[in-house]
Subunit: 232 residues, 2 copies
DNA sequence: AGAAAAATTATACGATCTTATAACAAGCAG
DNA sequence: CTGCTTGTTATAAGATCGTATAATTTTTCT
């Protein structure tokens, strides 16, 4: 999962020392540990959760597996998050924010014209970082939770809103620059978002269906329809 | 889950008799049962699986829960499907086929003009039967399996192909009738499918984002773009 | 230095899950 | 009516899961 590479860090490998010393020093030695700021620990656990979900899908959402992945004991998750669902929701926030930031970075590095910025947005959305089945694997787990958990649902509403507003800005700027009209900017942004998400989903489920470049072209065609007043 | 209503049947409620009679007749009484044709039983189990997934999401995919839902014992699932994933894959086939048939029925009941048929297709895709979060709940479980199981992946490829070809036919007929050109019909169908799926997904995750009628309008706008040569 | 606070380990408990296996019963063939 | 096939129940074994609780170590603060 390429998106995660940035986030990954050298993580604490739990020392087997306690086991070795147990025989020597006595039966009551404990594993040594480093105490970390709650904020850091929470993030470590969140990233470990993402890695587990990538590797094992829904089955990866487990206190024991995530704790092992993070190199800590199970109780730590209870301590920092209370119940495991809270940890997963936190992981969802990390993931969402990471993706949006990654795309926004590409947009802001483009030339400051509306067209160039929109192109960068589309290109970033179909870059290898996004066209990754593992990312869908994670997303799918989140979706199923969103449907049942109010906490997750609230996060999703927030992230989706941010995303659509971003698209709204990009499209609005283009329309102003090129002088065409859009009847309902918010709805147009929703449609464009849906088109991109739908293409991404279809590709992840069946990468043979079309090539990413074709996805980019189809998005540009939608923009072309907007230019020609299809949403007037 | 409205789509399931058609499939639901009065199901065997397991008699507690065996427990009661145990005290009277002796310790060795067994539950009475009806023997059914493997084909029937498999379908019953498949439908029970769908009901469980609707109710409990991923957690519903469990031998015990599905067996209880179907009013049989656990061993029966092992007997008919071997491992549980095979049962879920079977449930996926039932579901996919049901949805496509449901939409095609609406299309074929419309007036035989390309425009009317396409309208019916869109309307059916945004009808209350489809705009149901429970349906996404089931689909999400399937997607996660598609990513990991070749068996499920093969089914998905087949269903997706059928779906896109249907859209291709509808759009192609309209283009011919109205006399506009489409450069790549297959790609256009993929885009339109993605737009509809993306809107459906967004709505299911967050029903407050837009109304189904607005979804229909956004689809029509896309068609309007096609008319105006955005995909030429 | 020493005590208080907070992070972390360690462990246990009860529930649920998957799979395997043996016993039983329903329906069909003769 | 009898016996065979197999759908079905019943039960057990072993793994894993979530959460609670107590003991211990690290860090901080005075």
């Amino acid at each position: 999962m390429m998106l995660m590479d940035d986030l990954e860090q050298a993580r604490l490998t739990r020392e087997g020392i306690s086991i070795v010393t147990t025989a020597k020093t006595g039966p009551k030695t404990r594993a040594r540990f480093r105490r970390e700021a709650p904020e850091d620990r929470r993030r470590q656990l969140g990233e470990a959760a993402l890695r587990c979900i990538v590797k094992h899908g829904n089955a990866g959402v487990s206190v024991r597996q995530i704790a092992a992945e993070a190199g800590v004991t199970q109780g730590l998750i209870t301590h920092h998050f209370g119940e495991i669902n809270e940890l997963v929701a936190y992981a969802f926030d990390i993931m969402s924010e990471g993706i949006l930031q990654s795309i926004l970075k590409a947009v802001n590095e483009a030339e400051p014209t509306p067209k160039a910025r929109l192109d960068a947005f589309i290109a970033a959305s179909f870059s290898p970082i996004m066209m990754d089945r593992d990312v869908l694997g994670v997303w799918v787990v989140f979706w199923s939770l969103i449907l049942h958990s109010p906490r997750m649902s609230a996060s999703q509403r927030q992230e989706y809103g941010d995303y659509v507003r971003t698209v709204e800005g990009l499209i609005g700027d283009l329309a102003r620059e090129e002088g065409f009209a859009v009847a309902d900017l918010r709805l147009a942004a929703i449609a464009f978002t849906a088109l991109m998400d739908g293409l991404w989903l279809a590709w992840c489920l069946n990468p043979d269906a079309f090539r990413p470049e074709e996805g980019v072209r189809l998005c540009n065609n939608w923009i072309e329809g907007l230019r020609r007043g299809a949403h007037g």
